[in-house]
Symmetry: C2
Subunit: 300 residues, 2 copies
């Protein structure tokens, strides 16, 4: 079975479809790379490309994308609602199949070094690839944005991980890293009382004392007359879906409220759902190799 | 996304590895066919080949396999513990991805007709492809085996679906059909009392008044000092795993017994596990398209 890595570069052009297409095409041109999605947002003036492939191809495609974006995007003239630091703003590598998180960290370092050397761009490493705790969180690195970057980079704490110690004139800096796939998972409660969802969100999320890989907030679903605990699961292997679901169910019962449903927004890795089946059916010695589709993929 | 069908021919040679290899090779030689497994049993004197591919390729591979088996296996000299009717005994087509059960029925009919026309073999259709209720069950068709076939075929009820109304001298007859993937699923109980497992097996299985697509029997796991309800799930879409599991849990509680675990033996389609996650997490508007691996397969 081939190893598969996902890469989701965010770059600072969301209005000129031709430029967006050209930048995405540079990544797609690398043999073995498959583009799964390309989404542009005009208000944010930003695009997100999702592609997958074997590690080396995905790394080369990420580097090629930066090379195509740099001459086409000038941050000195860029306006948009979304915070950004660079022409290519952030490049995460995500383990999908048959690959460890630490292999994606190594891939992020290789890509970061290549981007710095080929294009003279300063590169910061973030999340699992971060060189310090402070740089783990993307918003810490991005604080001050492109406009504040020159001043920030003069601070001893903000020497880049690769490349020059000052911003690229038009391209700023690039944040490269590795992280687990994120699952956007919402749990719907049989009440219109937003305070209940808020209490539960606070109790399950990491910053409130809850699960380490869980971010949560309360959302009012006015159309349906119910409320929702809206969750980002940032590491489904260490904080699994079923544990958070059961915790929300138990906290809701405290208020006499039922869980009426849940939603997966976007995509989930199959493994996260296998884990749910394994838990509730109490399956002994479960392995993804028990799944026919795993055999099919291995035969490819 | 390409349609994928699985085919699992059983043929009556399990001792001569060279002959087994040659017969399997005839199926593997069809472009687009991927062999997932080949298992031979010397006591049964029988082999089982598992392969997958697009419908047309899988049909052609099944027909080619029969063509390779016919000159190499002579049932007049065949001995083995497993009941059998033909040199190639049974050829089921199983829907795996993006294909309906009824399309596999059509495929079974095409393959059956081709086998009869090319090789002069009588062909019976079984399970979902059966032409009468009586022929749905493989063991009804196989009763009397090769040795009783000539007499059985003289009966008006046992005219074959395709081909001559008498056995092929050395090859007997072939049973071709379509069925859902079967999941071998066992549920372990926290008791050494086999009578409890027996009571539960009888209550959940179809013939006892239980679930339509569920076969079950009690098994003593002496090494572990517990008992097991051993289950064949013959249509996981219509009788899902979670429903049988919850029923066993509830029946066991009646005896003050806990479910201590469960096991999947062999392979399960991913969809059967997605259904479990959907049920327990109460996921709204679930679709396999929410799974990253589905997107990956569609991109192939």
């Amino acid at each position: 079975m081939k190893q598969i890595v996902e890469c989701v570069p965010n770059f600072s052009e969301g209005r000129d479809a031709e430029i967006v297409r050209e930048i995405a095409a540079a990544a797609a041109a690398i043999p073995g790379v498959k583009v799964l999605d390309l989404t542009s947002d005009a208000d944010h003036n930003r695009s997100v490309l999702t592609f997958v492939g074997e590690p080396g191809a995905v790394r080369d495609a990420a580097v090629a994308l930066v090379g195509a974006a740099l001459p086409r995007i000038d941050l000195r003239r860029h306006r948009g609602q979304h915070p950004r630091l660079g022409a290519v703003d952030v490049v995460p590598f995500i383990p999908i199949r048959d690959i460890e998180a630490k292999e994606c960290v190594a891939l992020a370092r290789e890509a970061g070094r290549a981007i710095a050397e080929k294009y003279g761009l300063p590169v910061y490493l973030y999340e699992d690839a971060a060189s310090s705790e402070e740089r783990r969180n993307l918003s810490n690195i991005r604080k001050g944005e492109f406009e504040g970057l020159a001043a920030k980079m003069k601070l001893p704490d903000w020497t880049p991980d690769f490349g020059p110690a000052e911003p690229h004139p038009s391209g700023g800096a690039v944040v490269v890293g590795a992280r687990m796939p994120l699952i956007a998972y919402n749990i719907n409660l049989g009440t219109s009382d937003l305070a209940v969802a808020d209490r539960i969100a606070k109790s399950i999320r990491h910053i409130g004392g809850g699960f380490r890989y869980c971010k949560a907030m309360a959302v009012d679903l006015k159309d349906r007359g119910i409320v929702q605990v809206s969750i980002n699961m940032t590491n489904y292997r260490k904080t699994p879906l079923f544990r958070v679901f059961e915790c929300v169910k138990s906290e809701a019962a405290r208020f006499g409220v039922n869980v009426v449903g849940s939603e997966i927004v976007g995509l989930t890795p199959a493994e996260a759902l296998y884990d749910v089946a394994e838990f509730y059916l109490r399956i002994e010695k479960f392995s993804p190799d028990l799944v026919l589709e795993t055999k099919l993929m291995k035969a490819d």
